[in-house]
């Protein structure tokens, strides 16, 4: 067979390695049309990375959109019986507004979704595949994990206003301690609560390194349960031999309305931005009227062009 490796770009080579990886692990290829009813995005705007969607009117008058996202279409079309699991992967172009410009951009994404009766094994498998996806790009990589139950639970425990929560999450995504402190002061939080919020930004490290530090977030029933859930996942990842690739970092953000459980982001050395992003989004399943849970991630192949 002809050897194509010399002809393919890094982006293309990686895309094919990822497809092979997902197929070998029992995920089925999911092919979809370039277009989707605009309504799907209008109803779930907050899930999208950017609110801008490229729309036009079809010949029959329906408002269509060039897909800005693949996950929503997969969930929309999922037909899940009780106890069933749907495991699919995709390799598609999506259309989003490019940052800092006033124009749309075509972005190649590959990724996978596991929907339905997602148990701990399925979750760990998805996380393992996320690490292996990063390995396909570069050996030097890290997968950063946050837990929305812990972050959301701590925000609730501090009884912040909605605006205060948004401001803290914004500062947290930048690891901005002085920003967190100033929101805490504006909201009149006592010193111990302010310190707790700051800990969200400063706890960072490998599975063993942060284990003890997680205790500080057990402030009520909900956060204690979230910490126990997170510890269980971290323990599972450790048992799979992934300790050296995993970092715990609560600055990894996900929309709290849709994400529950872990949210993660992958980085490889030499590429300045995250190349992989995903998480558990049971809330999105509910919002779209589906039963069951969901976990998935996308790899941003366009970052490999540089």
């Amino acid at each position: 067979m002809k050897d194509w490796s010399a002809v393919l770009s890094r982006e293309e080579r990686t895309a094919f390695s990822l497809r092979a990886l997902y197929a070998e692990n029992g995920y089925e290829k999911y092919r979809m049309s370039k277009l989707e009813e605009y309504d799907v995005y209008a109803r779930n705007k907050e899930f999208l990375v950017s609110e801008n969607v490229l729309t036009f009117t079809d010949l029959d008058g329906r408002l269509l959109a060039m897909k800005p996202d693949v996950t929503l279409s997969i969930i929309k079309n999922a037909r899940l019986g009780a106890g069933e699991v749907m495991k699919v992967y995709y390799h598609e172009n999506v259309y989003r507004a490019a940052k800092g410009t006033r124009s749309y951009q075509e972005i190649m994404q590959a990724g996978l979704e596991c929907l339905g009766a997602v148990d701990e094994d399925a979750l760990l498998e998805a996380l393992t595949l996320a690490v292996k996806s990063l390995d396909c790009i570069s050996e030097s990589n890290v997968l950063e994990l946050s837990h929305m139950g812990i972050v959301g639970g701590v925000l609730n425990a501090c009884a912040l206003s909605d605006g205060g929560k948004r401001a803290v999450l914004d500062a947290l995504s930048r690891k901005d301690l002085s920003g967190i402190r100033s929101v805490a002061a504006q909201e009149g939080l006592e010193e111990s609560k302010s310190a707790l919020l700051e800990r969200l930004a400063t706890v960072y490290g490998g599975i063993d390194g942060v284990d003890e530090a997680l205790d500080v977030f057990c402030v009520d029933g909900a956060t204690t349960a979230a910490v126990a859930d997170f510890r269980g996942i971290l323990k599972g990842l450790k048992a799979l031999g992934l300790s050296d690739k995993i970092r715990v970092d609560f600055s990894v953000a996900g929309n709290r309305k849709y994400y529950s459980g872990v949210a993660f982001q992958g980085y490889v050395e030499g590429i300045p931005t995250g190349v992989l992003s995903g998480g558990q989004y049971d809330g999105l399943m509910q919002a779209m009227g589906k039963n069951g849970k969901a976990v998935g991630f996308a790899v941003y192949l366009d970052e490999l062009r540089r």
Binding site: S140, K175, L177, R181, S182, T202, Y267, E269, P272
Partner: protein
């Protein structure tokens, strides 16, 4: 092998103050003080490389990974919305973001407020929070002139002592955000040069003496 940390410093007075802080923290690079037009200076022994860039470009260098860390004013950082970590408030270059107007200014809420500023995004957000309709005029300098010539009702700009405003017959209407120099880091560099970045943050924090919250 030790990884070199690339640092983008803002050209100008603030940058020189920042460099002094780095030097005191043990990241000196003696050649930087030699006169000349060079923009890149390195001290391989200390594992550090500095380059001077335009202050408003520091965020771009860091976000795009050309620099691992950089120092930039909170004003510029907020205006450009760079996607970076903001690891430390260096407590220098302190000033405020403020609204200023002529002393006899009266806000007439029956019509849009005309705002002249260099900080379009900050001004828009500030007035959006108050549901105030504005007409924004983006200027690149001498903002104080705008109300004097009737170009705008108010200006949104950084104010340090307020001396420039006073000399031009303007008064501060409201100071609404504190500004100071921030140490920022590229998100990816933070993962792969964690020790280098954390040691730098610790060293600088000791110099500014705000060793308060972190452990």
């Amino acid at each position: 092998m030790r990884k070199i940390l690339n640092v983008a410093l803002p050209k100008g007075r603030l940058g020189e103050k920042v460099y002094d802080l780095f030097e005191k923290a043990g990241y000196g690079c003696p050649t930087i003080k030699e006169p000349g037009r060079r923009l890149v200076f390195e001290n391989l022994e200390k594992g550090i490389r500095f380059f001077w860039v335009k202050p408003s470009d520091v965020g771009v260098y860091v976000e795009r990974g050309a620099a691992d860390v950089g120092v930039v004013g909170k004003d510029v950082l907020t205006e450009y919305g760079s996607d970076v970590y903001e690891l430390l408030d260096l407590g220098i270059g302190k000033c405020s973001m403020a609204v200023a107007a002529k002393a006899d200014f009266q806000d007439d809420r029956s019509k849009p407020l005309v705002v002249a500023t260099k900080f379009e995004r900050i001004a828009k957000r500030y007035y959006a929070e108050q549901d105030r309709e504005i007409d924004i005029i983006r200027l690149n300098g001498s903002i104080e002139l705008a109300p004097l010539l009737g170009l705008s009702d108010v200006i949104v700009d950084i104010v340090e002592t307020g001396a420039t405003l006073r000399e031009n017959g303007l008064v501060v209407v409201e100071r609404f955000a504190d500004i100071s120099a921030r140490l920022i880091a590229n998100k990816s560099s933070f993962k792969f040069k964690t020790n280098g970045v954390e040691n730098l943050v610790d060293g600088l924090r000791k110099q500014i003496g705000t060793n308060k919250s972190d452990d």
